[in-house]
């Protein structure tokens, strides 16, 4: 893990400017949606919905790290041939990937959370800033089911050879079904059920309850723990993938 953290941190520090600019996009897009809502409703937009979307944007950034970024990191390791070295070294590839994810969360997720916390503090009071930062930490821990779903998809990477189709579909699915920028109750019944089969909506709702209502609903916590089955499934599929790569000897010749 330490080796993975070192590698990830060194890579992140090389592009910290780009990564920090992502934090600026959080209030920018939330404000853009508010402005769109203001324009589309003849000037009657609810500021509470702005806060909902502001926290949603932080969760969106974290979800992108848990989905798209992990897929691209795996691609980076495989296309460069590093995966073979990692598989043969004492550092296990999955641990290195999780270290990358952790650094991603600290650099990008924390930056986004601080930006959001500052705005929420000015609108609702300083206590809510602490609640937002705490909610971000909770969301980071409970995002493992999303990571699990990403690991399941990595099984298809050797045959697809390029993560673009997988990452684009997964990252938009997280946002579309995740109730990140609007509650899933706006969907018809069928889509709401589909949304609850996936781990995103409950994850986002739980973190948002902590940040904006200072509550941690127990029922959602139970559901959230249930979704950890996705993480277990992801670990199992990752194990299968590594065994398949070891047997074929084709770690990087994609």
């Amino acid at each position: 893990m330490r080796a993975g953290l070192y590698l990830a941190l060194r890579l992140s520090l090389r592009q910290y400017g780009v990564l920090l600019s992502v934090s600026m996009l959080v209030p920018f897009f939330a404000a853009l949606f508010y402005l769109g809502g203001w324009a589309a409703t003849g000037g009657r937009a609810d500021p509470n919905k702005f806060l909902y979307q502001l926290v949603g944007m932080v969760l969106l950034v974290m979800a992108q790290s848990a989905s798209s970024n992990i897929l691209w990191n795996i691609y980076m390791l495989t296309s460069g041939g590093q995966l073979e070295y990692l598989a043969a070294s004492p550092s296990r590839p999955l641990v290195v990937l999780l270290a990358f994810y952790l650094v991603d969360l600290i650099v990008v997720g924390l930056g986004a959370a601080v930006m959001a916390a500052f705005i929420i503090a000015t609108m609702k009071g300083p206590f809510f800033a602490l609640a937002t930062l705490f909610a971000t930490a909770v969301a980071a821990v409970t995002s493992l089911p999303v990571v699990g779903l990403t690991l399941v998809l990595t099984y298809f990477l050797p045959s697809i050879r390029n993560p673009t189709p997988l990452s684009t579909i997964l990252s938009v699915a997280v946002v579309f079904f995740g109730g990140v920028l609007y509650p899933v109750t706006v969907f018809p019944e069928v889509l709401q059920r589909l949304s609850h089969l996936l781990p995103f909506a409950v994850w986002a709702e739980f973190a948002r309850s902590v940040a904006l209502s200072l509550q941690a609903p127990l029922r959602q916590f139970g559901l959230l723990m249930g979704y950890f089955a996705y993480f277990a499934l992801g670990l199992a599929v990752w194990g299968l993938l590594m065994r398949r790569l070891r047997r074929s000897g084709l770690h990087h010749a994609w």
Partner: protein, 257 residues
């Protein structure tokens, strides 16, 4: 000339669909992202379906324009790898080639619009409104022609930039938003009046107005002004392409190399 245009259209469209799985994944995700944006804005309204109805065609317009803009941003690579040199060496005029390629990217956006329609139907159980079909057809032709010409101009700007992504991103939002992608008729009147000053309003907003049936100004005048703006974009594209070719012949490069 129309034959050449059609040949370029066919070649670029065929190229854009490859590989099909990537293309479909990209279109599906773009359409889903736009539905996310549409719902995120419509959620501010009391009746989400009513607001979504107003916003849908603006979203479709954005999808087409975005596809055209990113297609233009790709010319940066084509200039760097020498493909644009071949275009200049061929009997084809540069402005015609750029116009054809922008039109082709509008065609490429068509599956995305269909997916957008499908998701809208899935969410609301109905198709989006089309209050004035004849005006819609006229407005749509003006929109596609004018934006294809405008994007030809953007292409000539992009091939002078080392990395056009930031500018392309800004333009893909600035033009549709200032053109009435979110219908100005739904805005407070004092904000809506500003749109009358934007030339983009006359080529973008009529598509949205004709679907809702509510116009900011007189319908025929707005459409006529849209046609005038399209002609102005043609003149500008022709002039810019001639200048770019002249500069290329004098200096031997496009600016990005």
């Amino acid at each position: 000339m129309p034959g050449n245009l059609l040949r370029e259209l066919w070649l670029i469209t065929r190229l854009s669909f490859r590989p099909l799985s990537f293309f479909m994944a990209s279109m599906l995700s773009t359409a889903m992202w736009l539905v996310v944006v549409l719902l995120a804005i419509a959620w501010y309204g009391g009746d989400i379906s009513q607001t979504a109805r107003f916003l849908f065609w603006g979203t479709a317009v954005f999808l087409i324009f975005s596809e055209q803009t990113w297609g233009a941003a790709m010319f940066n690579t084509l200039a760097r790898t020498g493909v644009v040199d071949y275009v200049v060496a061929s009997p084809e005029k540069l402005h015609a080639y750029l116009f054809a390629s922008s039109l082709a990217y509008s065609v490429v956006a068509a599956p995305g619009v269909l997916i957008l329609l499908g998701i809208y139907y899935l969410l609301l159980g109905e198709l989006p409104p089309l209050a004035q079909p004849v005006y819609f057809a006229v407005a749509f032709v003006i929109f596609v022609t004018a934006t294809a010409l405008l994007v030809s101009l953007f292409t000539l700007l992009f091939i002078r930039l080392r990395n056009p992504n930031f500018v392309a991103n800004a333009l893909q939002w600035a033009v549709p938003l200032s053109g009435g992608m979110i219908p100005p008729t739904a805005m407070p009147p004092e904000a809506a009046q500003f749109f009358l000053l934007s030339p983009f309003h006359y080529v973008i907003a009529p598509v949205v107005y004709s679907t809702t049936g509510v116009w900011l100004a007189d319908q025929l005048t707005t459409l006529a002004l849209g046609a005038v703006v399209a002609v102005a974009f043609y003149v500008l594209a022709l002039y810019a392409a001639k200048s770019a070719v002249g500069r290329y012949r004098a200096t031997g490069n496009w600016g990005v190399e």
